[in-house]
């Protein structure tokens, strides 16, 4: 177990700046997730922590001591890959035993550890199989087992669930979380799936264009996004954004026809972007106090409620409607949301106002 600190870490390939001056401390025993779109540098970051790639600048420290000159073996990290990366010519038993054999452990110790991990992950009956005789979920388990068998200081996972089908992914998510709670090993997880990041992590860092946009607990990044990028990336379906203008004299913000109380300092030209999550937007066939008339374009049933797409003036938005509302495409409707849930962003820099 270790605390990982990244100090002014940067990496560039030739002219391309992948990671720029990154500062971060991952606490001991924490489940920490880097989330971001593909190409944001999150895998590079993980590979640098693993020791598979060398940083071009800055320092990586485990419990305060720099490790960037150490090989993966010396760092004592374990890693799970997206494609599982099992050794195809070895049986499940040998795959699990491999990291221990590389560390010259005794025969009996290896056997005991393999059986312990196999028991933990429900692989007891599969030990003699080859990887290609396993299903995706089973392969995933073996990959996990191979990583946890030698009780590493740091556990690294590079999109480990993205090759599984949706149902299995949710199962494995819960299993990962349980496993982490039992082992309490510092875990760094990389994913592009914000739902996965939210459900698994103690803390999340949203990575975009080689820089951390925001770092915090799942609740913080969801409810208090630091900028428009984070607001749009975290949460599904993504947040609605409506351009606003300060209405002179009334001391109110005009957001596509909705008048909102001005609560934030606006940029000099009096403009802002208002963001509201679809789950806070209520669309109904009946007019209520403060609601505004919109045009519905599509209704997607989500079981206990409906997602409703509509136009507020020129802006396309998404909200929720009750199942019994009987809304349909083209039908007129009324939209409202609690003003307190609205967030405001600088239209130029994207920063939260």
């Amino acid at each position: 177990m270790a605390e990982i600190s990244l100090v002014n870490l940067s990496k560039h390939f030739k002219d391309v700046e992948v990671i720029q001056g990154l500062e971060l401390v991952i606490n001991e025993g924490e489940f920490f997730t880097f989330v971001g779109p593909s190409g944001c540098g999150k895998s590079t970051l993980l590979n640098m922590i693993a020791g598979l790639e060398q940083p071009t600048g800055g320092s990586i420290r485990f419990d305060g001591s720099p490790v960037e000159r150490f090989s993966p073996k010396e760092r004592d990290v374990a890693m799970v890959f997206q494609s599982y990366a099992l050794y195809p010519h070895l049986s499940v038993y040998e795959n699990l035993a491999f990291p221990l054999r590389m560390r010259k452990k005794g025969k009996e110790e290896i056997d005991g550890e393999v059986r312990r991990v196999a028991g933990l992950l429900g692989l007891d009956d599969l030990l003699s199989r080859k990887p290609k005789q396993l299903s995706g979920g089973q392969r995933q388990r073996v990959a996990l087992g191979r990583a946890i068998i030698r009780r590493p200081r740091v556990f690294l996972m590079d999109e480990p669930l993205s090759n599984l089908d949706a149902l299995l992914r949710v199962d494995m998510r819960a299993e990962l979380k349980k496993l982490h709670r039992e082992l309490k090993i510092t875990t760094v997880y990389v994913t592009h799936d914000q739902a996965e990041a939210l459900s698994l992590s103690d803390r999340i860092a949203v990575l975009y264009q080689g820089a951390i946009q925001q770092c915090g607990t799942p609740h913080e990044v969801y409810l208090e996004p630091a900028n428009r990028y984070v607001a749009g990336f975290i949460g599904s379906p993504p947040m609605n954004f409506v351009p606003c203008r300060y209405a002179e004299g009334k001391n109110r913000l005009d957001c596509g026809g909705i008048g909102l109380k001005k609560r934030v300092r606006l940029s000099e030209n009096g403009r802002a972007v208002m963001g509201i999550r679809p789950e806070f937007v209520r669309v109904s066939g009946r007019k209520t106090k403060g609601s505004i008339r919109v045009q519905v374009t599509m209704v997607e049933p989500a079981g206990s409620f409906n997602w409703v797409d509509f136009y507020l003036g020129e802006v396309e938005m998404k909200g929720t409607g009750a199942v019994n509302e009987d809304l349909g495409a083209g039908s007129p409707a009324f939209m409202s949301f609690p003003e307190s849930k609205a967030l405001y962003f600088d239209p130029d820099t994207g920063k939260r106002l």
Partner: protein, 271 residues
Amino acid sequence: MVKKTAFYLLLSVVLAYCAGPIIWQILTSVKPDQELARIPPLVTSHPTAAHYIAVFSGYPFMRIILNSAIVALSTTILSLAAGSACAFGLAKLRVRYKSLVLAFVLSVSMFPPIATVSPLYLIIRFLGLRDTLYALIITYTTFSLPLCIWIITNFFRSVPDEIYRAARIDGCGPWRIYYLIMLPLSLPALFTAAILVFIFSWNEFLFALTFTATASSRTIPVAIALFPGLHEIPWGDIAAASVTVTVPVILLALAFQRRIVEGLTSGAVRG
């Protein structure tokens, strides 16, 4: 129906073209001397084993087969060892100018042997290796390495990088990744390279003719070509010898046929 007839017609043409000379050779090897020149070369009514007996009693043929076997096996082992190590570097390690290296390696095999045989002869003589098996083993290894490196590099490249990285994380250095992971995974490619190199060394003629002088280091193709005839060329003995030495190669190819196909097509189709 027409399609099927055409197919079999084409098949028999190809078969006749490929197998014709071999069948002719086999027929020749069991004919009595007086029938040898008869055209068309039909099956003889008096098959004889005289040529086979002559080959093994009249010439130091066992010695020659042994020479060939030593040369071919040593060449194969050396080429595979050096070739796969080189391929590992080119396929998986951080090496500068990889494609340049590969192109350079290939260029070695572009010179026609006849262009290199004289300077090589001088070198071999300078090293004092003339008329030894070493002369042949070294030259053959040099010339078969490019093929080995290319086949194995391509196969190594098809091994996912994540497996390589997983092995590093699990605590392997490059050397252990090479022999614990890459080599076992690449058996089909190794078999393919091995059999091609073996056949090349088994059949090579020009260098063998130039670098050897006596039966102590002579290999099969040269020995057969130099079968002494008193007044005429001993076609029957030559045929018998050829058939004898072709058999192991054919057996080898048949035994590893499936492996070879796997090796040659790997990378083209991902399982």
